[in-house]
């Protein structure tokens, strides 16, 4: 029997994985993918809870999140392209213009 707890644990694990990816990877593409992972972990929580509480609102929010994620990826990839044109790499450690 797959219960709500399973879903929540899975989504927490995925979310943590995403956070770790954002924190510790240097490649901008991978960071964006990790972000996507975090968003989808949240989506999973929404779906699971919507199902559990027998409410449709959670599912609707997920649709919104997907739209936002698509937009976010579009902007993020555009930034990645620009950075690559400037620096010749997409290593985020090299993007430190705001440094003191």
């Amino acid at each position: 029997m797959v219960t709500l707890q399973h879903y929540l644990f899975l989504s927490a694990a995925l979310f943590t994985l995403g956070v770790m990816g954002v924190m510790f990877r240097r490649n901008l593409i991978v960071i964006l993918m990790s972000l996507e992972l975090m968003l989808n972990a949240v989506n999973l929580t929404f779906i699971a809870l919507a199902r559990y509480m027998e409410s449709v609102e959670g599912q609707i929010i997920v649709l919104f999140v997907m739209v936002v994620a698509a937009a976010e990826v579009a902007v993020g990839l555009a930034i990645a392209v620009t950075i690559f044109r400037q620096k010749g790499s997409i290593d985020v450690d090299e993007v430190d213009l705001m440094r003191w």
């Binding site: 954002v22 924190m23 985020v92 993007v95 430190d96 705001m98 440094r99 003191w100």
Partner: protein, 641 residues
Amino acid sequence: MSDLVWLIPVFPLIGFLINGLIGRRFSEKAIGWIGTASVGASFAVALLIFLELIGMAPASRSVQKVVYTWMLSGDMNVPIGFLVDPLSIVMMMVVSGVGCIIHAYSIGYMHGEYGFRRYFSYLNLFVFNMLLLVSANNFLLMFVGWEGVGLCSYLLIGYYYEKQSASDAGKKAFVVNRVGDFGFLLGMFLIFMTFGTFNYTDVFGAAPDKLTQGSLMATLITLLLFVGATGKSAQIPLFTWLPDAMEGPTPVSALIHAATMVTAGVYMVARCSVLFALAPISLTVVAVIGGATAFFAATIGITQFDIKRVLAYSTISQLGYMFMACGVGAFASGIFHLMTHAFFKALLFMAAGSVMHAMSGELDMRKMGDLRKKLPYTHWTYLFGTLAIAGIFPFAGFFSKDEILYYSFTRNLGFWIVGAVAAVMTSFYMFRSVFMTFYGKSRVDHETAHHLHESPPIMTVPLMILAILSLVGGLVGIPIFEGANRFGDFIAPVFKPAKDIIEHGAHHGGHHSLTAELTLMGVSLAIAIVGLLFARRMYISDPAAPDRFIRKFPGLYSLVYHKYWIDELYDKLFVNSIVEFSRFLWKAFDDAVIDGIVNGAATVVRAWGSALRWIQTGLVKDYALSFLVGVLAVIGYLVLR
């Protein structure tokens, strides 16, 4: 007519405003005559009021006219009010009359000078302030004029402000006067504390009841007022500004020395005669300071070679006489001498200006000599002034100085001796200046000799008017004969309360002794002539005599020639110590404390900044990490609490 007394100070003020504000387009002539006419109008009004005053009964010759309420605060009511009484009207006539003559002379003297309009506006403002000072009916309004003349003296002494010495002299005059003003101000506070009013009539009327004779308060008030007087009237110890004041144009010196400024102190002491009478100690101080100044300044006058400097020291000396007169209770004689002195000192200064004019600005008497043929009018008028100041019968100075010496004699022989010795010296140094300038062999250098010329009539006519006044000015106050001392009789009611107080306290000593007075007159005349002959012997018959004398007493001569090193002493004692103290404050307080606080604040902020900047790596993931840590902390808190 005496209702119009306010017009007297207002006329010069109008002249000042016209010349000062819209005089830019006027010609020199117009500016000069506007200035002169405004002071002349004051004199005319003063004369009319004087004539009206004479027609009134002697007891009622005191009229007050309030024009405007200036300050009203609680019990304090200070009006802009004027007082007409014999003392103030005499002062007003002297100030405006002599002032007017000096204005006219200035038109010629300042001709073509840069800043002509500025000069005349200041001159008018000067006369305005002095007239305000002498016509006010309360101490506060007098103080306005008092400060005003201080300001104008600063402006006019520093008239040639491009010259370092002139602007220094202006500053010196101002600062030294401020020292005196401080005393005057404190005296005024005490008067208000004691009487609750500034009005002369109220203060002097209540004084005998509120202050017992010789009380501490009376002594304190009068001594503080006298400190003010020593500043304005250049007495020991605040006299050092006056000799330097000749850095201004010569007519300004004439104005400062004769009509305005220095007479203010004497007038103030005379005005407060009742208060001084209540404080015998102060009277003694006044007399001693006056006598000492008369003597001391006269000795310096003997050794100076600058003709204006000789005159400056003679002014200090003569002012000493006036204070000595006030100190021995002969206020009327002090004022009488003030008046005659105004005539002949203005004359002497303007004649010296005329000499300077002819000599292309040379003031050193060692480079003059035998000018009498080239400058006949200047010579005669200067001689008249000298005869008057030396006290030769029947010139003005004879009567006034003799009166002072007589009263000093009745009071205390010591004062008389000091006065008499000073009189010998006065006569000596004044004739010395005459002989060195106008007689003997010419020591003028060729270039200057070529340009020697008598001054134009606009300058010589004022000289002649003053020469006549120096000749006849004393005749209004002939002593001895009953009723002949018109001046004394006219002004006596003002000083009657003071006289009563003094005579009440003292044992009846000095009743008029005709023989004593005649003898003293003879002695004064003899003294003056001794001085004359001595000067003649040293500077005409035997020109080598002064050098022999110098070689005999080099130390004494050097001491006196350098004015007893008083200026240097003051520089060391006061000026330098203040400069040093200021430097200390600059270094220790301003630099260390004030700048320390300001710079310290900046340093602290900077230190924090440089410590905290390490956080700002510019890497987004570092910020994301701190964000994550924060989120975890918040969640942890919410979970664990």
